[in-house]
């Protein structure tokens, strides 16, 4: 039985940075000529994301999203789009793997500089049911890149 005080974990979850991305999502909108587009939703909570990518020469030149959902899924999407720009497709997939490791509680991933602001999501690993919120955009990314591979 967990008896630790709840507040520290909650404030680690709902950091300023996350609420900022939730309320002011970056790269929100649609691309005019995406090379990859995918819609994904979480049937259990109803969160959804439409993700568009512009990939040229195996490099992500641009990325946009439109989403509805909780602070975690929306902040994760917003931060993801920032991080992905000008990353190669293999790099993007590696990052997706690192995020996934961070959600499993991998301490090395949680301090991995390559994840940039996304490290703010490390606290999610303490809330198992929210992990799939954080991973929704990343799963959309994998689906999108798979769909053209």
């Amino acid at each position: 039985m967990d008896t630790s005080p709840p507040e520290p974990r909650l404030s680690a979850l709902y950091q300023e940075l996350i609420l900022d991305h939730y309320r002011r999502p970056r790269n929100k909108g649609m691309l005019e000529h995406p090379t990859h587009a995918v819609s994904l939703n979480n049937p259990l909570c109803g969160d959804e994301i439409d993700l568009q990518l512009l990939v040229q020469d195996a490099v992500i030149r641009d990325v946009r999203f439109v989403g509805r959902g909780c602070s975690i899924s929306q902040a994760s999407a917003s931060m993801m789009t920032q991080l992905l720009k000008e990353k190669s497709v293999p790099q993007a997939l590696v990052l997706a793997g690192r995020i996934s490791a961070m959600m499993q509680g991998d301490a090395a991933a949680a301090t991995d500089k390559s994840l940039g602001e996304l490290r703010a999501l490390a606290g999610v690993s303490k809330f198992p049911v929210r992990i799939k919120c954080a991973l929704l955009p990343w799963n959309a990314l994998s689906d999108a890149l798979k769909s053209s591979a």
Binding site: D2, L10, L19, Y22, C45, G69, V129, R130
Partner: protein
């Protein structure tokens, strides 16, 4: 109001703590906790009576059959069913409605016919009709709701003008708490010759229900939402309708004579209970009904209405909270949103205070679209909840707002 503290003592799980806090369980519309009396009935069944039913010539099998059929009679009495053989045990409401759609619907619906549902129906009373209508080339007509979350009676009347074959609606909405005027809706539907399917998932646990007084044709309910075991539930129907229907599942017990290439079928209700039934579930459900009746359904309804009223009042005082559904008479279900704090985030934050609420679409996506929200937070009450718990909900909610730095517009 009921003495919730005393009742709470009957429920082993409610004695637990969650995150070091007293557990406040407010997700009763999803499923309820079980009193020791129900757990004892399950244990007692397996320790003294367990055998396969309807087939054995030995004492144990006879007692198991008697226990099972006594449970059927208990359910029939509880809902004032037309007859015990009008009670078919199912896994729950969803299976009961699928049984009606699959057996009655498939046999009676023709191309171009209409099925009427409402915009507040649970997916379990919507998707089976979608599938049936697609298969048959029939038309599915969804009746709209009013601003305050009631079935729009004028739209309902318009839908009935098209003389639908089947009309389905929830007695009580699991998202809004609306108590629909079931008797009136049924009379209107019967006047145009429709058969009426009532989703009783949320009414059976919380109101005194009399299916003969309602005069519906089919009534579905779930045991797990009324203190009974998971995997228990029932379809209650007019016996003549069941008799005229083709079977649902094929298998043991539902047959009379089996030849190599065809079979004749058993009498109702057995015709609809293929295979080994969940005897434990039926026995546990009967024990739950005994428990509920000891307290009184009228008292339970009153208690929940008081809690809902208090919750609506208390939550409405919080800047930014919007409560959905009718203000007046309603069941103990309170759906709300809180500014831009997402319901999912609300649920996570409340959980840290030991408060269990639901966040999401509550299996009512068409309703959510009409409310123009992706999701709501929902607190739903039962006999073991108290006014203190309503207060705890409000306090924790304010904390969620603070954590989000929520500033009302």
């Amino acid at each position: 109001m009921l003495d919730a503290a005393r009742l709470r003592a009957d429920f082993p799980l409610l004695q637990r703590q969650e995150h070091g806090r007293r557990l406040v369980y407010l997700d009763n519309a999803a499923t309820t906790q079980k009193p020791q009396a129900v757990l004892d009935a399950i244990l007692d069944y397996y320790r003294t009576t367990n055998a396969n039913v309807h087939r054995g010539a030995y004492g144990l099998a006879i007692r198991a059959t008697e226990a099972y059929e006594a449970a059927r009679e208990r359910v029939a009495r509880f809902l004032n069913a037309w007859a015990p053989e009008g009670v078919v045990f199912t896994r729950g409401t969803t299976e009961a409605i699928n049984l009606v759609a699959g057996a009655y619907g498939r046999a009676n619906l023709r191309q171009g016919d209409m099925v009427v549902v409402t915009a507040m129906d649970h997916h379990s009373n919507l998707v089976p009709w979608q599938i049936l209508c697609q298969e048959k080339g029939a038309v599915l007509r969804m009746v709209e709701i009013t601003e305050d979350g009631r079935i729009d009676l004028s739209d309902y009347g318009q839908a009935l003008e098209r003389r639908p074959k089947i009309v389905a609606f929830p007695y009580v909405s699991n998202s809004l708490g609306t108590v629909n005027p079931a008797g009136q809706l049924i009379r209107l539907a019967h006047a145009v010759g429709a058969v009426v399917v009532v989703d009783g998932a949320q009414s059976t646990p919380h109101l005194r229900v009399d299916v003969q007084a309602l005069d519906c044709d089919f009534y579905a309910c779930s045991g797990h939402k009324m203190l009974g075991p998971m995997g228990s539930g029932a379809l209650v129907a007019k016996p003549a309708l069941l008799e005229a229907m083709p079977p649902y599942h094929g298998g043991g017990e539902m047959i009379s004579k089996v030849w190599d290439d065809h079979s004749t079928y058993n009498k109702i209700p057995h015709k609809f209970e293929a295979g080994t039934p969940n005897v434990e579930g039926a026995v546990g459900l009967a024990a739950a009904i005994d428990y509920l009746e000891r307290i009184g359904l009228e008292q339970i309804a009153e208690h929940e209405q008081a809690l809902a009223k208090a919750a609506i009042e208390r939550l409405s005082q919080i800047d930014g909270v919007v409560v959905y559904g009718p203000r007046g008479h309603r069941a103990g279900v309170v759906s709300f949103t809180y500014g831009d704090v997402h319901p999912h985030d609300i649920a996570t934050i409340l959980d840290q205070d030991g408060i269990c609420i639901r966040a999401g679409h509550h299996c009512t996506q068409p309703l959510m679209r009409r409310l123009n929200v992706a999701a709501t937070a929902r607190a739903s009450f039962y006999l073991y909840n108290s006014l203190e718990e309503v207060e705890a909900l409000a306090t924790s909610l304010v904390k969620a707002g603070a954590l989000f730095g929520y500033v009302p517009a």
